[in-house]
């Protein structure tokens, strides 16, 4: 039993034929070629597969793709526009908030979503906001700093970067 799934991904309406038990992660990566979303643990603990669904973060590895009918999904690919990085991406680079980079798309999306929901978070709230993402090489100090810099508007909003 295949079924047709209609959803909005990164502001584009798409329809894709899926198996009813497919994970959102696999549909994104295998059917839609959006390889920025990573699979880490596969059980909803590491946050590497984080996406934003209807304005809230979720682990796409434990999200049933079929449940996404009519939903608005944003992946890491959404953030850079016309080759320009999103402030959060730029801030991660400037703060050396990544080493191997595998966890980075998830962290960046958690940071972006946190600021969408709470534009002025405290350090404690930032730590809480990224608590669903695990980094095993950099450590969290630089990541918290990266989110703080975006909060403090060290970068111009709307995708353009302040060089």
């Amino acid at each position: 039993m295949k079924l047709m799934l209609n959803m909005t991904i990164n502001n584009e309406k798409i329809s894709v034929e899926i198996e009813p038990d497919s994970r959102l992660l696999d549909v994104l990566r295998d059917d839609l070629g959006l390889l920025g979303t990573k699979e880490g643990c596969g059980v909803g603990e590491c946050g590497a597969c984080t996406v934003i669904i209807d304005g809230k973060t979720a682990n796409s590895c434990v999200t049933l793709a079929a449940s996404m009918e009519g939903c608005d999904i944003k992946t890491i690919e959404y953030l850079s526009k016309n080759g320009k990085l999103h402030p959060m991406q730029k801030s991660f680079i400037d703060n050396s908030a990544l080493q191997c980079g595998f966890c980075t798309p998830g962290f960046v999306l958690s940071g972006v979503n946190l600021l969408e929901r709470n534009p002025n978070p405290t350090e404690e709230e930032i730590k809480e906001g990224i608590s669903g993402n695990i980094c095993r090489c950099t450590g969290y100090e630089q990541i918290v700093k990266a989110v703080e810099d975006v909060r403090d508007e060290k970068y111009i909003k709307d995708g353009a970067c302040d060089e």
């Binding site: 059980v43 603990e45 958690s110 669903g132």
Partner: protein, 280 residues
């Protein structure tokens, strides 16, 4: 072959129910089970995530009705929950991670009957009961203590669906939730507790509710100990006695385990600390 239904109303949902039905709401448990080999290929998967009637919190006489597909995050933010049952939003705030709280639902938390559920102690504290509808449309209500039989097992029959959880308002009570996990985020509770206390003007106890969760196979309200405390003051001596009585009972119910040497004194100390904190 896997059958998949995505009903839009409770009525449509009841029509989809078959003997081999498996529900999915947030998916945060089921997709892990599927990965671990839970075979759905010959089942009927009923997706509850598109039924607006199953979402939200309603005010009812003396309390709240929390619809089954309301997410943990919604309960953290909900004004009525924060006003009437702060302990529940505190408990939901400790579930998994932001991502899990955004997807996981209260109905799923009850239905999976995990002994480590964080909302469960808060719900039991508020005399929570599950509201259940069957395929014929008949509704029954069952106290959560009865509904959860043992880890992973509830009284929910194949032709039934959890509609909501009803809880009493504890607005006038001092409330407290405490959890110990192996780390702060993304940790399953090793121990969790919920308490509520209502005092008379002379500082004696008018009503008290004490629940111990994760240390036990099934979350438990300590009704016998609560009763003993009515009309008394929370003196050091009484706090010492009840925290010992509760930790002794936990050991008796759960049986000695490798972790008991750590857990039992910790349970005693946390109960004592929570009671003292509520006394202030």
């Amino acid at each position: 072959m896997l059958n998949y239904f995505r009903p839009k109303t409770i009525k449509e949902c009841l029509e989809c129910i078959t003997d081999d039905r498996v529900y999915i709401a947030g998916g945060t448990d089921l997709l892990v089970e599927m990965r671990n080999g839970h075979d759905l290929s010959k089942k009927t998967l009923i997706d509850l995530s598109h039924i607006p009637e199953l979402k939200g919190v309603k005010k009812i006489d003396g309390g709240l009705e929390i619809m089954a597909c309301t997410s943990h995050d919604d309960l953290v933010l909900n004004k009525d929950v924060n006003k009437s049952l702060k302990v529940l939003s505190d408990a939901c705030r400790t579930v998994g991670s932001p991502q899990i709280r955004n997807m996981g639902t209260i109905g799923g938390s009850i239905g999976t009957a995990s002994p480590a559920s964080d909302p469960m102690p808060a719900l039991m504290l508020a005399d929570g009961s599950a509201v259940i509808i069957n395929k014929k449309g008949e509704i029954r209500e069952e106290k959560l203590e009865k509904f959860v039989v043992k880890p992973g097992i509830t009284t929910l029959k194949n032709d039934e669906l959890i509609l909501s959880v009803k809880v009493k308002s504890l607005e006038d009570y001092k409330q407290s939730f405490f959890k110990i996990g192996r780390r702060k985020a993304l940790a399953i509770a090793r121990l969790n507790f919920a308490m509520a206390i209502l005092k008379n003007k002379d500082n004696t106890i008018k009503d008290i509710k004490i629940v111990v969760g994760a240390a036990l196979p099934v979350t438990k309200r300590f009704y016998d100990i609560e009763k003993q405390l009515i009309g008394k003051k929370l003196t050091e001596k009484i706090i010492e006695k009840i925290s010992k009585d509760i930790s002794d009972q936990v050991l008796e119910i759960a049986g000695p385990r490798k972790s008991s040497e750590y857990k039992i004194p910790v349970i005693k100390n946390i109960i004592s600390r929570m009671l003292k904190d509520m006394e202030v």
